[in-house]
């Protein structure tokens, strides 16, 4: 028992712990701080903690004191005292409110910062399923663990194969649900090398508690390449995306700024698009997916509603590859570099519902 108390006192009082001695934060109360903004979260937590402690001790202390001082004694009744005091009521409503406003503000500010995803963030696609994780890196390789590079911002584009899941890395203080039928985003900026727990935080069925894996932050890119167990891709995603595009989209969409039945797509990625009703929408993963599955939901201005729906014809992997292709075009890549490579997947097989995940082991031609 005393050991525990010592443990508590010695290291872990969550009050702005000494950054020198504990660069990772307050180990007892918090997980290690391994990303930007984790420190902010801990600061706010500590601040709220101490504000609450002060109030709580005040309340309970007053309660105990009053119960002792005014305990019932034979022959002594309650003494006369006021039964209302508007000034007091206003005081103890308004003063705490000020603290609450501050708490809200600090929380909102911290949240807002975590949602500003830099444009140069590395994009990693997360596919959650019952009960495992699959991470797809920009070059198409996959892993069942999340491997990041220290100091490199990462944007996770997350999709689910079945039910709700949630990506939670306690060391980063970040969490986002993964919703089937759409993409959700999460942004990290890892700041500390190490291994951290990545867990599913939305109940998803029998194996929910087994859906834990590792998030490892490496000091640099090369270390990451060497240390990760990769499930190598046979081809880069944008290449198969290019082929899928040729088979399905090229009839109406050009990629050399040429307008056909539909608008050209080579420069579209990440831009704002104006729709027929005047509103604007960003061309991101969600918009592309929606355009493929329910094209008549949003029509680009000056075009008409003619696009086919690809529901049932393109699966989630195809859509992600098409997106990769659009990103590739936007970044100035030359689609002619697609070419024929070993492991080429016949687009006619696409849409049959079979998985097109490549088998590990074959040497990719990139």
């Amino acid at each position: 028992m005393m050991n525990f108390v010592n443990l508590l006192i010695a290291q872990q009082i969550p009050m702005f712990p000494d950054a020198e001695k504990h660069p990772e934060g307050a180990p007892f109360w918090f997980p290690p701080r391994a990303a930007a903004f984790a420190g902010d979260v801990d600061f706010l937590y500590s601040a709220i903690f101490w504000i609450c402690t002060v109030f709580f001790i005040g309340i309970v202390g007053a309660m105990c004191y009053l119960c002792v001082k005014y305990r019932r004694r034979p022959g002594v009744g309650p003494q006369p005292s006021p039964s209302h005091n508007t000034v007091l009521e206003l005081a103890w409503s308004i003063l705490p409110s000020i603290l609450l406003v501050w708490m809200f503000w600090e929380g909102a500010r911290g949240y807002y910062e975590t949602q500003q995803i830099p444009d140069d963030a590395e994009k990693i696609v997360v596919t959650a399923s019952q009960f495992s994780w699959e991470f797809t890196y920009p070059d198409g390789d996959k892993s069942t663990e999340l491997h990041l590079v220290e100091g490199r911002p990462v944007r996770l584009v997350m999709e689910s194969r079945d039910v709700l899941h949630s990506m939670y890395v306690a060391a980063f203080r970040q969490k986002k649900d993964i919703v089937p039928g759409r993409y959700t985003d999460l942004y990290f900026l890892p700041t500390r090398v190490g291994k951290y727990r990545l867990a599913c935080a939305e109940y998803c069925g029998e194996g929910h508690s087994r859906m834990r894996t590792l998030c490892q932050v490496h000091p640099d890119d090369q270390t990451r390449k060497d240390k990760t167990i990769w499930i190598k891709a046979k081809y880069m995603p944008w290449k198969n995306g290019a082929r899928t595009f040729n088979m399905n989209c090229a009839g109406c969409h050009g990629i050399k700024d040429d307008t056909k039945t539909g608008p050209p797509l080579n420069q579209k990625w990440g831009e704002m698009e104006t729709l027929t009703d005047g509103t604007q929408v960003k061309v991101d993963e969600t918009y592309v997916r929606e355009s493929l599955l329910t094209p008549d939901a949003k029509i680009v201005a000056n075009f008409s509603n003619q696009m086919l729906s690809f529901k049932g014809k393109l699966n989630d992997q195809d859509i992600l590859e098409l997106i990769a292709f659009l990103e590739y075009l936007k970044s100035g890549g030359d689609p002619a570099a697609a070419g024929e490579v070993e492991g080429y997947v016949d687009p006619a097989a696409v849409g049959s519902g079979e998985a097109t995940t490549p088998v590990a082991g074959a040497e990719p031609a990139k």
Binding site: R71, S83, E106, D177, R182
Partner: protein, 565 residues
């Protein structure tokens, strides 16, 4: 009837009372008497509490080590789901309004019954029926969706989701009917001289609760109905495979379930107002503020449901708005706590069992409410959502809040219900066990959650073992405290020392009846008094009861205490 007889009827112990007014199974099963219905509800919800409590103990035992295998993962999932579903729908939502409220509300108003006695009985049978369906679900394939039934898992799973959601649906109607009944009763059946601001605060809280029950529960009804339709004929509203939206389900669900937590806590706060006033023998401080704060909590509670969806991918604007409004709900709750403390000031405090529970409430609800702040702030919530921190928070408010207040209220009104006194020492021992066991169970869970332990996990990382073990020990202590309290109460009802109408000097109208009350509640004209004017109460030795000054024999009437200003 002579004056002595009237006084005896008003304040004495009554051997002929509502309990033995008529005999036989049918006289209870088909009763329209709100007091009997309250007793039946009390037995029912206590059974649900004990059943779901056993599930909790099983869960905690399983979690003793990080991968015990005591239960299979699937069985663990069923246990936590059923624990939650039974506790929320069959125990906590009905608990105080249906069991205590039914018994006390009409008498506090000076009325003979609620406005719609048959609807009241129907409510009870709907409770039985709904709980029955939950048990059917238990007995068939069980339920493993979590009590929140999130789609699409609840659509895909092969467990008895339809039985369970239908059970919850029926329980919802039980709640709605109780709400309608109480709202109308308070509106139309108050004593002619009882204006709104001369009502006891328990009634204000039940009124605010009734408003929530009426407005929010139907939304749960349609949500569950749609979920059932989704499972049976696949309407596609919540199922992404059919073009539906799982987050829409979450919005619909929490639109009810957040106000529902105020259904759980408001009556509890009402009880605490009564207990603190009676056991300090002082008018409650800030009556008007407490009354309005109940209504404010009820209304604000409808605007914050999105704080359960901060990580769901909803828009940032909406997220910010919900966070801001969530903080506003803290104020009325804090106002109540401060007012209770001010009531203690210069009172004459009796630390009997109900008062011990009331003080426990302030401690435990204090922690529960304050930890809500961590969850209302966005950046911390992102870290803490779906971890044990949330589990600890809601158990502090629901168990440390509602259950504690309910136990306090049950002890407080037990002598009225049965005309017999409980063993106060053992009652306080029970309170101590509940208090300490509860703290030991749930405080470590805050730490676990902050350290990243997710909830609904059957197995976990070994770093959390010590916390889980304290939590498990605490759970058994808590369980022992609850069981001890139930035993003390049941023993008292059967063999306790007989007491008279007003053993504690309560000033509200339910104390102006015999103990136990007669079938009609009041066999005499009801005389309206300020429910918190304890200075008006005098101990009458012949009756062995506290009575209002005017009822005491003229020659024994003592000098009035100087009035409070």
């Amino acid at each position: 009837m002579s004056t002595a007889e009237i006084r005896q009827k008003m304040f004495g112990h009554a051997d002929k009372n509502y309990l033995n007014h008529s005999k036989g199974f049918a006289s209870w099963a088909l009763t329209l008497d709100h007091k009997r219905i309250g007793i039946m509800y009390l037995i029912g919800v206590t059974s649900a509490l004990l059943l779901a409590g056993v599930f909790a103990l099983v869960l905690r035992t399983h979690l003793w080590v990080s991968d015990s295998g005591m239960l299979s993962d699937a069985m663990y999932n069923q246990m936590f789901t059923l624990h939650g579903a039974i506790m929320v729908f069959a125990f906590i939502i009905p608990s105080i309004p249906a069991a205590l409220g039914n018994f006390v509300l009409p008498m506090m108003l000076g009325a003979k019954d609620v406005a719609f006695p048959r609807l009241n009985l129907a409510s009870f049978y709907l409770w039985v029926c709904g709980t029955g369906f939950l048990l059917v679900a238990l007995a068939t394939s069980g339920l493993d969706t979590g009590w929140t039934f999130y789609t699409p898992y609840s659509i895909r799973t092969q467990t008895s989701v339809v039985y369970a959601t239908f059970g919850a649906f029926v329980l919802g109607f039980s709640s709605i009917f109780t709400g309608i009944n109480f709202l109308v009763t308070v509106n139309t059946m108050r004593h002619p001289q009882m204006g709104w601001f001369r009502m006891p605060l328990f009634l204000w809280s039940l009124y605010a609760t009734a408003i929530i029950q009426i407005l929010a529960t139907p939304v749960l009804g349609i949500t569950l109905l749609l979920l059932i339709m989704e499972k049976l004929i696949g309407v596609g509203i919540f199922d992404p495979a059919l073009g539906g939206d799982p987050v829409l389900f979450q919005h619909f669900f929490w639109f009810y379930s957040h106000p529902a937590v105020y259904v759980m806590i408001l009556p509890a706060m009402g009880i605490i107002s009564e207990l603190i006033a009676v056991y300090s023998q002082k008018k409650i401080f800030g009556y008007t503020f407490i009354a309005f704060s109940s209504v404010a909590i009820a209304l604000l509670g409808f605007l914050v449901w999105g704080h359960h969806l901060f990580t769901s991918g909803q828009s940032h604007v909406v997220t910010l708005i919900f966070s801001a409004i969530t903080f506003s709900v803290a104020i009325p709750s804090a106002v109540k706590v401060f007012n209770w403390l001010a009531t203690l000031y210069k009172g004459s405090i009796l630390l009997c069992t109900p008062m011990c529970y009331a003080l426990s409430f302030i401690f435990l609800f204090g922690i529960g409410g304050l930890t809500g702040l961590f969850l209302g702030a966005l950046s911390t919530d992102i870290h803490l959502h779906d971890t044990y921190f949330v589990v600890a928070h809601f158990h502090f408010v629901m168990v440390g809040g509602t259950l504690t207040a309910m136990l306090g209220g049950v002890f407080h009104w037990w002598p009225k219900m049965f005309g017999r006194m409980y063993n106060d020492l053992l009652g306080r021992v029970g309170c101590f066990l509940v208090f300490s066991g509860f703290n030991l169970t749930f405080f470590p869970q805050f730490v676990m959650g902050a350290r990243g332990m997710p909830r609904r996990y059957a197995s976990y990382d070994p770093e959390f073992v010590i916390f889980h073990q304290w939590s498990t020990v605490g759970a058994f202590v808590l369980g022992a405290g609850i069981v001890l309290s139930v035993v003390v109460l049941v023993y008292a009802a059967l063999y306790g020392r007989k007491v008279t109408g007003n053993p504690f000097s309560g000033a509200s109208l339910e104390w102006q009846t015999s103990s136990p009350p007669s079938f009609h509640n009041f066999d005499h004209p009801v005389v309206m008094h300020d429910p918190y004017d304890f200075g008006d109460m005098v101990y009458d030795e012949t009756l062995d009861s506290w009575v209002h000054r005017e009822f005491i024999e003229p020659d024994r009437r003592p000098e009035p205490v100087p009035a409070h200003h």
